[in-house]
């Protein structure tokens, strides 16, 4: 793997770390399997790209992208809570609707960002090679987001959100308005994905409606890899695990694709992703089975 490819993988891993953290929030904290991210990620990219072309400040454009993602999350939450549609289905409905919305936002399937200023522009002239500056800037943004999120989850509001996901009945009995916490949690999760989309558009120089496909799997992969590599109890470490997992996942994919011996090409990305996630999900189960078998065997022997 070349140096450029290495830093490229780290950079994209860091961008998707925000997706991973968002997915962690919906799947793990709220126990709400939310596939909206496949739509809110490209939505963020689209909104950001269009605003950048219109000459809007890149930070404002990124914020708008996050808000657009959050709005998409609210739609899913409303379909589920207000209209009692199964959460998985509700999120799929929003996801496919967003495909059309994203086309409308951009007016065409993809938008190139060539001469526009991005959040990265001020850092390009500092004498550090571009392929290192980009992951550095994204790293700082991710670090800030993770720190804020960890603090949020330690707050009274955040604690109530965690209780909502673990035991909603108990949470209600303790005066927690569980619906409000699901709304805000799913909005926050998709807001992070919208922000990730905005960073994706700015680091890669384009927004495309198809970039959303499989976002949820990539996010889940990162969460699962993170949990395997960093099996921590403390919430902050779990969040850091999501970030580490996202980077490791990208490095693994990069390695798989760049090893000529295996004969994989770039278009095999989704297949490799699905296989990696499946393996990561199956392995702990097998390990548990093996453990159960060995203890059962021991009992018989005795």
């Amino acid at each position: 793997m070349s140096e450029i490819a290495l830093f490229g993988a780290i950079e994209i891993g860091l961008v998707y770390a925000l997706v991973a953290v968002g997915v962690f929030l919906s799947f793990r904290i709220l126990d709400f399997p939310d596939l909206t991210v496949d739509g809110s990620f490209p939505l963020g990219a689209a909104v950001c790209a269009v605003l950048l072309i219109a000459g809007v400040n890149p930070w404002l454009a990124s914020l708008a992208a996050a808000l657009a993602g959050a709005l998409a999350g609210l739609v899913t939450a409303a379909l589920n809570l207000r209209f009692k549609i199964l959460h998985l289905l509700a999120s799929i409905l929003t996801m496919i609707a967003l495909f059309s919305v994203n086309l409308r936002v951009m007016g065409r399937p993809n938008v190139a960002l060539l001469m526009q200023d991005t959040v990265l522009t001020p850092f390009y002239g500092l004498g550090i090679p571009d392929h290192i500056v980009r992951p550095l800037v994204v790293l700082v943004i991710v670090a800030v987001v993770v720190a804020l999120l960890a603090r949020f989850l330690a707050s009274e509001f955040g604690l109530a959100m965690r209780a909502t996901g673990v035991n909603a009945r108990m949470a209600r009995a303790q005066g927690v308005n569980t619906d409000a916490h699901v709304y805000s949690g799913i909005a926050l999760s998709n807001g992070l994905c919208g922000l990730a989309g905005a960073l994706f558009a700015q680091t890669n120089g384009f927004a495309d409606v198809t970039t959303g496909i499989g976002t949820i799997v990539v996010g889940l992969a990162a969460v699962i890899v993170g949990e395997t590599v960093l099996p921590a109890r403390a919430l902050v470490l779990t969040l850091v695990g999501c970030v580490v997992g996202s980077i490791l996942y990208r490095l693994a994919v990069q390695l798989a694709l760049s090893a000529d011996a295996i004969g994989l090409q770039a278009s095999d990305l989704n297949l490799v992703t699905a296989l990696l996630v499946a393996v990561a999900l199956i392995l702990p189960r097998l390990r548990q089975k093996a453990k159960a078998k060995s203890t059962a065997g021991g009992r018989v022997a005795r």
Binding site: S155, E156, A160, R169, A173, V176
Partner: protein, 265 residues
């Protein structure tokens, strides 16, 4: 104080499974009274507790807590006034959260939950003192997950959690039914202590006639959604389990008591 006027609850109205669970309950419980509630399966005990807590909204009637009409309030809104301990030790707390996090959740009952830290050093110290008073040695395990505790320990912590936010009403839904007899006795004694110390107005649903007479200062018997027996004071002091069983049989029109669970204890 709890004032209940003629509440009715029907599940699945208009369907083949329609169940008229509460058929007009009238009840006033003065502040600080400890009421035990008995009745066979399906008598409406849990529904009645659910109606007080807000899980079930009454079709008809009025519920007032401390002179506030709460008839249309949902569970989270009533939580500031009402604390609860459930039958299932897993139901009343979050297994995946730590003991102190569970306590912090309960301490914020009835308040707006903001972005302030849920567990500051001051609050931690307070929790430690409160939990040490249980005498279970849990004060050094505040960082342990709730799921690591035994059923009895979880019910004890749940009882403690019920007192953290200063609500004056405690609803206990067979909170010792899932425990072994010795642990159940411990939790019941703790209940009595906590109710006395905090001067809580308490409703305790139980399957055990023995418990119903031994604890508290008033006993209600529910049957088919109505209160069929309401005893307190001397009349109650003179009652024994056989009396209660006879009364119960009379209410059922002299039929044999088929519900074995009523005979326990």
């Amino acid at each position: 104080m709890i004032a209940v006027q003629d509440i009715h609850v029907t599940f699945g109205p208009g369907t083949p499974l329609e169940k008229h669970a509460l058929r007009g309950i009238d009840l006033t419980i003065p502040e600080g009274q400890f009421v035990t509630v008995i009745g066979s399966n399906g008598a409406g005990k849990s529904t009645f507790l659910g109606a007080l807590a807000g899980d079930v909204l009454a079709d008809r009637g009025r519920i007032a807590i401390d002179d506030t009409d709460v008839t249309r309030w949902d569970t989270p809104r009533r939580a500031g006034l009402v604390a609860r301990v459930f039958q299932d030790p897993m139901a009343g707390s979050c297994a995946a959260l730590t003991i102190e996090e569970n306590m912090a959740l309960a301490a914020a009952r009835g308040r707006r939950r903001g972005l302030g830290l849920a567990l500051g050093p001051n609050r931690r110290r307070g929790f430690k003192e409160r939990i040490a008073a249980l005498g279970l040695g849990l004060e050094n395990r505040l960082h342990d997950r709730m799921g690591l505790l035994s059923g009895g320990q979880r019910q004890a912590v749940s009882l403690l959690m019920a007192t953290l936010a200063g609500s004056k009403i405690l609803l206990l839904d067979e909170h010792t039914a899932a425990l072994d007899p010795a642990t159940a006795d411990f939790v019941l004694d703790l209940t009595r202590r906590i109710v006395r110390e905090n001067r809580l107005t308490t409703l305790m649903v139980t399957h055990s006639m023995r418990q119903a007479l031994d604890y508290g200062d008033r006993t209600l018997m529910l049957h088919e959604g109505r209160i069929v027996l309401d005893v307190a004071g001397e009349e109650r002091a003179g009652l024994d389990v056989p009396h209660l069983l006879a009364l119960f049989a009379k209410q059922r029109g002299g039929a044999e008591i088929s519900d074995d669970s009523l005979l326990i204890g």
